[in-house]
């Protein structure tokens, strides 16, 4: 293996680690405190790319070239870590069981964000969500996160002065 490949792989591993750590923290917060739909997606998407930029001082061209592939890799690393975070926050490591119970309506997930603004909507959602609407909001938030990750990942281009 050439030295440049080794350096790239090492950099990639540290980026994955960044996504993983953020995922763990997010999973823990989501279980213990609640799910901030949209806000979580935006904060997480931007935080991962901020962390990656802090580390990738010499790998900026790779970020530009393989932006989409790296985004997907970081996205799935985050997802896995978030599931681990759910598991670690619970008394028994049972993250998939917990998610399936929410989907089946046996339990709810505390959801905040746009619904915490007050009024009827707040009361309707204050006790949490489950089932199809919960899944829709989760996917909506994940889409936001991926979008923010994708647009903030490439390095800034300097404007050329004419």
């Amino acid at each position: 293996m050439t030295e440049s490949k080794q350096t790239t792989l090492l950099a990639l591993s540290t980026w994955i680690l960044v996504a993983f750590v953020i995922g763990l923290i997010t999973g823990w917060i989501r279980y213990w405190i609640g799910y901030y739909v949209l806000l979580q997606g935006i904060v997480v998407g931007c935080s991962i790319s901020w962390g990656v930029h802090k580390i990738a001082t010499k790998q900026q061209p790779i970020l530009s070239k393989a932006q989409f592939k790296i985004s997907i890799l970081l996205f799935f690393s985050f997802m896995m870590a978030q599931a681990v975070g759910f598991g670690l926050a619970q008394p028994r490591f049972n993250s998939l069981g917990w998610l399936s119970r929410i989907w089946e309506g046996q339990t709810v997930e505390s959801v905040f964000g746009i619904f915490s603004t007050g009024g009827v909507a707040h009361h309707a959602f204050a006790e949490g969500l489950s089932g199809g609407f919960w899944l829709f909001l989760s996917l909506f938030d994940l889409a936001f996160m991926f979008f923010f990750l994708l647009i903030t990942l490439p390095p800034k281009t300097t404007k050329s002065t004419s």
Binding site: W32, I33, G34, P91, R92, R101, Q106, T107, S110
Partner: protein
Amino acid sequence: MINLVRITTFIVAIAMTLFSMFHIDANQELALAHRAYSKGDMDQAMRMARRANRASSETNKKTEAFYLQAQAASKLNWTKEAKAYLDQLLLLDQEHTQALLFRGELEYQLGEHQKALRDFDAGLPLASESMSSKTQAYFLTKRGLTLLALNQIEKAQSDALMALELATNLPEAHDLMSKVSEVKGDIKKALDECEQAYQLSLEKDKRSFMTPEGRKLSDRLLNLKVKYLRSQ
């Protein structure tokens, strides 16, 4: 000046958001945990009870939260975790009758019969002052089952008789008496008691035969019938 106002507003907004996120009102959380438990949402009941537990420093609040956590964990079939919560509770209050008896029941389920017997022996004398006769009878049957598992048949029979005296219509008491009779070789009595236990559990809940306990009971009834017919 305007920049200072902007920065101050931003910092105050962040501080308020963080405070609202991390501040936990133990009383409110505990009330929500009880509500979630009564609605059958064990995950939320446990989560909120754990939050209340962390936020509170009062012993009575903590014991209440630990007990609720144990109940919810047990309903999720997380027996070891439920027992661990009761261990923590009993460190705070060693004479918590419900916790002692509940831990005994969990230890019986985990096959830790000696420990279960110790907890039942500690809890049952206290239960006579604070619990209804039906609840006492229920835990007497649990101790009887533990004694049976420890091969102390006479003591198990004595518990079965006491339980039946306290609550004649308790299916668990008849089931214990049936098991004791079977061990003693009295298959006819074992069958009669088992039939009574089955009928009483059906009277209590018509769908009880669909539960795991109900299925066990109907299987036992069938086995006893076969055993009885063979013995004739």
